[in-house]
């Protein structure tokens, strides 16, 4: 198991390095550059370039950047010149993370429960409802779900606030909006997986042992059915993360999304790089956790690696 984790860890670090390198050079290939505003005179722009080190060879800049990263320094924003990228991430990430975690917990827990109920009551009303939720959820984009939630719960029925992020009741609608797609996805996969596992021979073995229905469902069916859900958790986390951009803007939440999108439009190199590297490491970390989790849950994955 330790060896398995070690391998995953090495792979994670390698992908992070690759990500940083690729993004670093890609950013420079984008049309335009940070200091092109008409208000800047040639002289000022040149000074700025010098200040940010753009007049040095690219490869030198690259190693400087890596060096700074290792010290945890993403550098100054080139647009909000009085702020470091670290400051901006520090101010906005807590909102995004809070929203993302709420949505993930909601999506996974409710998704699993719906999938399980649906499979256990196959063909009954509850199954029908769950399948419907899954179809709607997987076919409707985030911003429509968000807008519909705002319209009904916020405006029509006046139950919940529709904007900003000031307390628990403010988190409800955006979390649901962000979770909906993933929730539908998880429930769909779990339902299919439950129905497949129940056909397996070992379920018959469990019945022949005289185990209770509860025990068979929990220990034999759900425990094995959950595996495919864990494999899609990685992409799922990615989906939720990118979903935050859209949901944050619909619900006017002061998260990272706005800055990320703006930074690209502004050619704000250090912001683009910083945010991407930050998001990227976060995703890679999530995938690492999922991989380890998978090894814990499925003994076959660990085979030959201990």
């Amino acid at each position: 198991m330790l060896k398995y984790i070690g391998k995953r860890l090495v792979a994670a670090v390698l992908s992070l390095v690759a990500l940083i390198t690729v993004v670093f050079f890609l950013v420079r290939l984008m049309p335009g550059e940070p200091f092109t505003s008409a208000k800047l005179t040639q002289q000022v722009a040149d000074n700025m370039r010098h200040y940010y080190g753009f007049d040095k060879p690219l490869i030198v800049q690259y190693f400087q950047y890596i060096g700074n990263l290792l010290r945890g320094d993403f550098g100054y924003s080139m647009k909000y010149t009085n702020k470091t990228v670290n400051d901006i991430i520090g101010q906005t990430f807590p909102f995004s993370a809070d929203l993302g975690i709420r949505a993930l917990v909601l999506a996974i827990s409710v998704g699993l429960i719906l999938g399980i109920l649906s499979a256990l009551h196959r063909g009954k009303t509850i199954d029908f409802v769950c399948v419907l939720v899954a179809i709607i959820g997987t076919s409707m984009p985030d911003f429509i779900v968000g807008a519909l939630l705002q319209y009904f719960f916020g405006i029509k029925w006046g139950l919940l606030p529709v904007a900003r992020y000031l307390g628990f009741e403010y988190t409800i609608l955006p979390s649901i909006g962000l979770a909906f797609y993933t929730l539908a996805q998880v429930s769909r996969i779990m339902r299919a997986s439950m129905l497949e596992v129940v056909q397996q021979d070992y379920i018959k073995t469990a019945r022949a042992k005289g185990l209770s229905d509860l025990r068979i469902t929990a220990r034999h069916q759900i425990r094995n059915a959950i595996m495919p859900v864990i494999t899609v958790l990685g992409p799922t986390v990615a989906a939720v993360l990118t979903g935050t951009f859209v949901i944050e803007s619909i619900f006017a939440i002061p998260g990272m999304g706005k800055y990320y999108v703006e930074s690209v439009a502004n050619n704000d190199y250090s912001m683009i790089l910083g945010m991407t590297v930050f998001y990227g490491s976060f995703l890679i970390l999530c995938n690492l956790i999922v991989d380890i989790l998978y090894g814990v849950v499925d003994p076959r994955v660990r085979v030959g690696s201990r």
Binding site: S212, R219, N224
Partner: protein, 331 residues
């Protein structure tokens, strides 16, 4: 052998499945009994209802789509079909073990071997945790597994096919049931492993006195293992008898056909193997008369129209064939 006490009696069992294509009459009026300490073979071609019959004993067929139309399954005077949920679970846990055909898929891949064996005792309050572990280790030794402490902690994927089937047998036997049902336990194993597993089952029968129901389509397995045989065809029992009667006083043309289709040691070079022509009847609408009529080279007009009666040829030997009717004698 015939004096042995009956421990399980299956009487007039009729079991069908409701499917989209219609009702599958999988088991059609099957009766036989199982005696203490014997190995009873159930033999027949694929799809003749062997597994469904065996699973009826523990009510393992999915209900629905399956349903009992008739019959009783008596164990110690109690009808399994009338048992309440709790009683049925108890019956499965204590009285009858089941070994399935494919050991590769019959063990839970995410559970350790030890846990899968001990699970049998989960709802029992009469044994302590340490006793349960002791029982699990003992049964592993008994089914011929070495290094039991290590195996106990392993997962199924770490074991070979033959080893897994030993584990399945251990699970079936750990609560010391009086009957174990083995549904083609060696079909998916290679020949040397098959021989080992069959030897193991025989030896366990000797040591524990457990009755064994041995389901197979292989008469070689029957010859090697069984005391008595039930031959099934088209959801019906067509012949039963002790092993000698089935092999040397074969009464039913289907059994004769089966025998002709296997290689035997006492064969001359000139003897040829002849498979039975044709296919088993469609169980959606089984024929009114003898199920074998379409393939039987001795079929008479009556065979197509009427189901043959059971004819008793000796105390143990029974067959369902019009040839045994007194008017047909000598044909």
């Amino acid at each position: 052998m015939s004096e042995r006490e009956k421990i399980l009696e299956i009487r007039n069992l009729v079991f069908s499945f409701r499917t989209y294509g219609g009702v599958v009459h999988a088991v059609r009026d099957v009766s036989f009994d199982v005696r203490k300490g014997e190995i009873l073979g159930i033999v027949g071609e694929s799809g003749c209802g062997k597994s469904v019959t065996a699973q009826c004993i523990l009510r393992l067929n999915p209900e629905p789509p399956g349903f009992f139309e008739n019959g009783e399954i008596l164990y110690a005077g109690q009808d399994v079909l009338k048992m309440k949920k709790k009683e049925l679970r108890n019956f499965r846990t204590r009285e009858v073990g089941f070994v399935f055909q494919d050991p590769m898929t019959s063990l839970n891949p995410t559970m350790r071997i030890g846990a899968q064996i001990e699970e049998v005792f989960l709802s029992r309050t009469d044994v302590t945790k340490s006793e349960v572990k002791e029982k699990a280790l003992n049964i592993l030794r008994l089914v011929g597994i070495s290094d039991v402490e290590r195996r106990y902690r392993q997962y199924p994927h770490e074991l070979s096919g033959g080893m897994k089937q030993r584990i399945m047998i251990a699970i079936a036997l750990v609560s010391e049931p009086s009957v174990i049902i083995c549904d083609e336990p060696t079909t998916s194993l290679d020949v040397t492993i098959e021989a080992q597993i069959l030897d193991l089952l025989k030896e366990l029968r000797e040591r524990l006195g457990t009755s064994v129901i041995m389901i197979t389509h292989d008469l070689g397995v029957i010859a090697k293992m069984c005391d008595r045989v039930v031959v099934m065809y088209g959801g019906k029992v067509v012949e039963t008898g002790d092993i000698r009667e089935i092999f040397y006083e074969t009464a039913h043309p289907y059994t004769q056909g089966l025998l002709k289709s296997i290689a035997r040691l006492d064969m001359d070079k000139t003897d040829v193997l002849t498979p039975i022509e044709g296919t088993p009847p469609d169980l959606f609408s089984p024929p009114e008369g003898c199920p074998f009529a379409a393939r039987c080279d001795r079929a008479m007009a009556v065979c197509q129209r009427y189901m043959p009666f059971e004819s008793r040829l000796s105390e143990e030997h029974m067959t369902r064939c019009w040839l045994q009717h007194e008017l047909a004698k000598g044909i």
